[in-house]
């Protein structure tokens, strides 16, 4: 059971990939991409977790109290920003695709073949 959170991260990652591959709608694809990213958050935060510990904020507890790892939290913060930015760019592209092609189906976007 102590490896379940990690397995969960793996599951989310693979499911996200499946979603991307079978997607029929670009917005759905972007959401699946975000989902795939969230697996990295789960993995990072699970790695840094300490049993029975509090947040690494020592405003009202003294330094030296059991706390979780602050580094992975900082990494996750950065990670979230990255995810937002990619989602924004892809959604902007999706809107334009809808305008030019009239469809959001990724399988119908075949201008680039060959």
């Amino acid at each position: 059971m102590s490896y379940l959170p990690y397995a969960l991260a793996v599951w989310i990652f693979v499911v996200g990939l499946y979603g991307i591959i079978t997607s029929r709608n670009l917005i759905h694809l972007v959401v699946c991409l975000t989902l795939t990213q969230s697996s990295t958050y789960v993995l990072l935060l699970a790695i840094g977790y300490v049993k029975g510990a509090t947040a690494p904020v020592f405003a009202d507890v003294s330094v030296g109290t059991r706390a979780v790892d602050p580094v992975v939290q900082a990494l996750t913060l950065t990670d979230i920003v990255v995810s937002v930015t990619v989602a924004a760019l892809l959604l902007a592209l999706a809107i334009q695709v809808q305008k030019r092609n009239g469809t959001l189906d990724p399988d119908a976007l075949t201008e680039m073949s060959g």
Binding site: T40, E111, M112
Partner: protein, 608 residues
């Protein structure tokens, strides 16, 4: 001198922010001037860093957080000649592109220049960084700017799809890197490359180390456009504006391969089994596959930018071969290829940009004979193609010969002829295109070439537009690429750079213990260039011209029945190859998954 280290990143970023903040209040030409000034300054600083780092590797700690008791607290930039060289290459290409695109992108105000500067900062940061998560951050910065720049021409369908394919595949690659980083952190508690390597050294690798390394490598190989992660490259190149393509092919793809090499030599190097011949075989296999697929697909294109893009994939394969051989001289060969190819390919794309601007098309068949008036461009185009065929001692010769010699030395004698054949095919494609476009040779129809939607004008055709501003950077890049091998002492410096790059103990000492290790350039074993290389280069050049001529005149040279039979044999395979490059994002991601799983599985078999 250490004060220069953060500048290749700080200068472009601050300039970009300033342009955004004050863009509304400034005059029209200011963004061109500011961007060009920032890019030139970055180029100068990077070149200074190359010279400074040749003497000893620099470890620069941001925030002043030096390593404490061998524990890296902060983020470091670890500057060796290769890293600084990459930053310099990126900045040089950026400067040339910005000169080329002077007043090109007026209609979008400062947006184009801001993104280009940010892109430059991302590339420099990625090259110079010594921290794995920091590399990821710059990797994503490169990506964010690149996706937007690719989709620049939003009025057309092609750029949108190209940008989406690019964005989704590269983002997934980045997520693979991130999972790898998380795994490395979970095992070693470190994000600094030196420290990760130090912690992993000497211990037999288990599942976690193998998979982490596989994931990080795959993520960077996506950027490096290696088969089967390469599908996005041609799509992105076909639609991105010309100055952007220069940077993609010239620096961005090569940085992906640099990432692979850097991570290998700092983290995996000390692990038992990492130097096995089987690992070399695996990476070699990927390199060879990319080189061959790239060359064949290159030959089948009539869209000039896609043609050049597949040629880039082919050269990326060659660079990976050099990295895979794991010796300093092979690495030096790869570095030489990166430099020469970057400059020459950049110049080739700028030539295509001129053609697009003057003739409104990039389709080889449509352009048949119409390029005769553009003879300066045509001359440069052919010159660059010839240089890519590595005629001794110009152009790609240094890199190619170092590669071939190392391969033979390491026990892969079949690599030299293979590299030559690949070179012949890809250069022949470029020469064929040059013959058709600039000289009007050959027929107007060619069943072999893929029908591709043509590209329209990038920008409004402006007759006042100075031809000099477009031609000058093109000529500069191509002549630099041609003459690169003639730089005195370049081979020694590249070998030295390769040695430094692969010396993990010295890397750890510099980064974690703050020791300054001076390395001398002279005391190196040097590979004498054997006559065999010259022979291969002659074969490459001659073969390329012969194949190009054959491609153009095969209707007249080969009787109809023989042609039909040959077509019958090959068309099946070629059609499969073409259909695999379907342009559909779902297919690309399926291949990516396959690639990661396969690479991971093979690495597991090799290392455990």
């Amino acid at each position: 001198m250490d004060v220069l280290v953060p500048l290749p990143v700080a200068i472009p970023l601050i300039s970009a922010a300033a342009l955004t903040a004050f863009g509304h209040f400034l005059g029209k030409r200011v963004d061109d001037v500011v961007a060009l000034a920032a890019s030139t300054a970055t180029m100068v600083v990077s070149l200074l860093l190359v010279f400074h780092a040749s003497d000893h590797r620099l470890a620069y700690w941001f925030g002043g957080w030096r390593a404490r008791h061998g524990l890296a607290l902060g983020v470091s930039f670890t500057v060796d000649p290769v890293a600084a060289g990459f930053a310099a290459l990126a900045a040089t290409l950026m400067t040339a592109s910005l000169v080329f695109s002077w007043r090109y992108f007026d209609e979008v105000g400062t947006l184009f220049h801001v993104l280009m500067l940010v892109f430059l900062a991302g590339m420099c940061g990625f090259a110079l960084s010594g921290d794995l998560f920091n590399m990821f951050v710059w990797f994503e910065l490169m990506g964010a700017a690149a996706y937007a720049l690719t989709g620049y021409r939003v009025e057309e369908r092609g750029p949108l799809q190209g940008a989406i394919n690019f964005a989704v595949t590269n983002t997934l690659g980045a997520y693979c890197v991130l999972i790898g980083i998380a795994l490395f952190y979970g095992r070693t508690g470190a994000l600094n490359l030196a420290q990760i390597g130090d912690t992993l050294a000497g211990k037999k690798p288990d599942g976690l180390v193998v998979v982490a390394f596989a994931l990080v490598t795959c993520g960077f190989l996506v950027k490096g456009a290696i088969v089967p992660f390469h599908f996005w490259l041609a799509d992105a190149h076909a639609v991105a504006p010309t100055p952007v393509c220069v940077l993609f092919s010239g620096a961005m793809v090569e940085l992906g391969l640099y990432g692979v090499a850097r991570v290998y030599w700092t983290t995996l190097d000390g692990v038992p089994g990492a130097h096995s011949g089987r690992l070399t075989d695996l990476l070699l296999g990927l390199g060879v596959a990319s080189a061959v697929v790239g060359a064949v697909m290159c030959f089948l294109q009539r869209h000039l930018k896609r043609l050049l893009a597949y040629s880039t994939i082919s050269h990326a394969g060659l660079i990976l071969i050099g990295i895979a051989l794991l010796t300093p001289s092979a690495f030096a060969g790869s570095a030489a290829i990166v430099l020469a190819h970057g400059l020459l390919k950049g110049g080739l794309f700028l030539c295509v940009g001129i053609v697009l601007n003057r003739l409104s098309s990039v389709d080889e068949l449509v352009l048949h004979g119409r390029g005769r008036a553009l003879w300066p461009t045509g001359t440069l185009f052919v010159l660059a193609a010839v240089a890519l065929a590595a005629p001794a001692p110009f152009g790609l010769f240094l890199g190619k010969s170092l590669l071939e010699e190392s391969a033979t030395h390491e026990g892969y004698p079949w690599l030299a002829p293979l590299v030559t054949v690949v070179t012949i095919v890809s250069v022949a494609a470029i020469l064929r295109a040059a013959g058709r476009v600039f000289l009007g040779l050959g027929p107007r129809h060619d069943a072999l070439l893929s029908p591709e939607p043509d590209e329209e004008q990038e920008v409004e055709r402006d007759p006042r537009r100075s031809g000099v501003l477009m031609l000058a950077p093109t000529a500069a890049l191509i002549l630099a690429g041609v003459g690169l091998s003639l730089v005195p002492g370049l081979e020694r410096h590249l070998e030295h750079a390769g040695d430094t790059f692969q010396d993990r103990h010295s890397y750890v000492a510099t980064v974690l213990q703050g020791r300054i290790e001076h390395t001398a350039v002279d005391s190196l074993s040097m590979l004498k260039l054997a006559p065999a290389s010259v022979v291969w280069s002659v074969i490459s050049l001659g073969g390329a011209f012969a194949l190009a001529a054959f491609a153009l005149y095969r209707d007249r040279l080969v009787p109809e029945r023989a042609r039909r039979r040959a077509y019958g044999w090959t068309s099946g395979g070629l059609d499969v190859l073409r259909s695999v490059h379907s342009g559909v994002i779902g297919d690309y991601v399926a291949w990516l998954t396959f690639g990661v799983a396969a690479l991971g599985g093979l690495l597991a078999l090799i290392l455990t």
